[in-house]
Assembly symmetry: D3
Homo-oligomer: 161 residues x 6
């Protein structure tokens, strides 16, 4: 049995309970999960890449098999460099699926050994998204149920500036 | 590293190139894949369960890590009996996704350790389905591109009766 | 303020926790909710119309504003006879929505005063359906979480025959 | 400029105003439209193939460029026999699209010269379907707005038997 | 019977015939409908909030039960302040539904007493949207069929500047 | 038989193999296809309209029946000016379909003689889009399989600046 390395790419701006759930589920079939925090998103993020990596590292400190890395460039190349054969994606809704399907096929074209694996989050988390969390938090709503306490604290500090 | 056992349930009436593709892709993260051929489908099948199991065994003879079993009853229980922690499902289209999502959540309710993992088949196989193969074959169309030669032969024999 | 009468039509074969949830939510804007149990479904039901009406009456005994009736024929006419101006429908998924949209528009054509109102059930119930409950119960699975105890008992009796 | 022959296949059980609309729209780019009434549908139809062909011929009598034929077997072969290079399909909703997409790709596999062309019916007809018309008519509802008077008369006669 | 207060939130940039239709339909089950014009949209609007509120007030002048208010912040809090128990949303298409479903579930988390109620607009208005109206008007197209004459006049003045 | 003129509108930023495929398929039922390159897109394009027109002209040089034009304003008016009765659109996925459906209905309202015709690209091209090509190319990925060599060269020059 060889070591199975999976990549879970995303913006994580910020990490939600939905992301955490997918990462933990991934460990059911991957020996190592590399959470790949995207640098070069076109939209201006709320948290810098460094802040997002730091939050992920704080939340997953001590969880065996989970590593946090930032990445720019093609996912297919990042996977190759790290010896990963799997890409993990969470599926929440139809519109998700359409986009994810397109990305999975493109990644397979660019790196035929790369298999995209889709997981469904816990039912209670299917409606969550980073943008929804940012919106609710910026309007002063309570997001304590949707993010880790460390993320909630970071959101409060970021938005109070 | 523990042994990861996955179940790939379905009717396989008959096995298509799409199913074969998903089974082979599953071996990227599962040590053993149990193809579970459903007995108690409500609709009357073209091939008996025994014929469907035989065809799968013939096609996957010698492929390490793939086992063929028939099953009736709850998938969640079948998984428990065989020590499986993963359920494999192929995703082809939106309507697939809705149904699969529902089943994945139900299976998780009935057996919380069971993780459903979705894979996309090769782009060229996304339009394939067993029912489409049955329909084209029954109308005298050539399905050589869509099924294994052994399945094609079995279809010809079955339909000429 | 006039009395607002709503109809919640369906097969209820059997009543699920999802249906119960929608009925209770309807009382937020309707003074009376008539649960209309369809007689002339094409498919052969597990429970007779009388059994389904009885189960609904047992579960909603004492809940003010909820009435149970069987109906055959056009929903639009049934609504007119009972002075109802609203039709209630639960929305769970995309495929639901398509069908419901079609029915809502047809009902409006046939009875222009009839407004269809869509509600979403509790997130934990979005994956539930009567057919899934029937399937799980018939395979010996535990459906105690998905239906009222009275429905569970009726299912056990019906399926043990 | 060569003659462009299009096929519009379907069950037409019965012909609706939506089908009529699509046939008329097809004449914007096809010189001849062959309406192909499917014989071997699995479900038992309300009208026989002969009755359905007769109704279509009665409704399109005198409309230049429209021909009615029954067909069994593969659409791809039927197209080849009649020198058709286009298949016409109406698109009403997402679920339609999924199925149609699958059929279009299969037909292209079986007959690479066959192009499937999708049209949208008039907005007021997007909710119509033959099965909805059958259902409303069988329950005694007025379908005069949804079908041609000749179809309405045939429905009344058929259902009063 | 208590007074039922519903909120219909949106950007209304500008108000379309589709919005008007939904507002009128809401009066079938709500005693008062508060049209809540969102202030803090991220995108730069064509009309200011004041202009949008003024247009709505002009169009609904004299319509009993309809009130126009601007709002910023969380919808759940706005609802609580105004004693509203219902949120009204129009459903036009699948993509609408996905987003609306997500928002409905989030609002229920943030304010469990708040019920989201979905309505379908008149079939002839299902393709309308404010952005489509803005686009057509800015290109010099005639939008007289899609908006109230007062909105049409305001669009002409705004765009001629 | 009159001359059938079709318009294929888009941004073509840049032209992909998917667009090329749709243009070629259009010639199965249109005598002339006018590729209409949109000028006034809200988003800042990678290539100027002139560059996009030049690339299309280079790729389709010598292909009879294909013309390239830039356009601003309403598509319905552009069609009228050029005597076109058909609009061609490629359909790739559900989300495409929703948007396209909306545009088709709007164009029909604005110019009732204009028929929108949907085509599916080759299965191998269904996952392609201009934005995906831009993204992969900007990250240094190989897009040789997804675009014409002339487009690939132009992308390399544009992105190396």
């Amino acid at each position: 049995m060889m070591t199975r390395i999976a990549i879970y790419p995303g913006s994580f701006d910020p990490l939600t309970r939905g992301h955490e759930d997918i990462i933990r589920r991934s460990l059911a079939f991957a020996d190592r999960v590399i959470v790949a925090v995207a640098v070069n998103s076109s939209k201006s993020p709320l948290f810098t890449v460094e802040e997002r990596v730091d939050l992920l590292e704080a939340v997953f400190a001590g969880v065996e098999g989970v590593e946090i890395k930032s990445f720019s460039g093609l996912l297919a190349e990042f996977a190759q460099v790290h010896g990963a054969s799997l890409v993990i994606r969470g599926l929440r809704a139809v519109s998700d699926f359409e986009y994810e399907f397109q990305m999975a096929l493109m990644n397979r074209k660019l790196h035929s050994e790369l298999e995209t694996v889709f997981l469904t989050p816990d039912l209670n988390l299917t409606f969550l998204s980073s943008s929804l969390v940012r919106e609710v938090a910026s309007l002063g709503g309570d997001v304590g149920e949707f993010v880790h306490p460390k993320v909630e604290k970071a959101l409060r500090e970021k938005l109070s500036r």
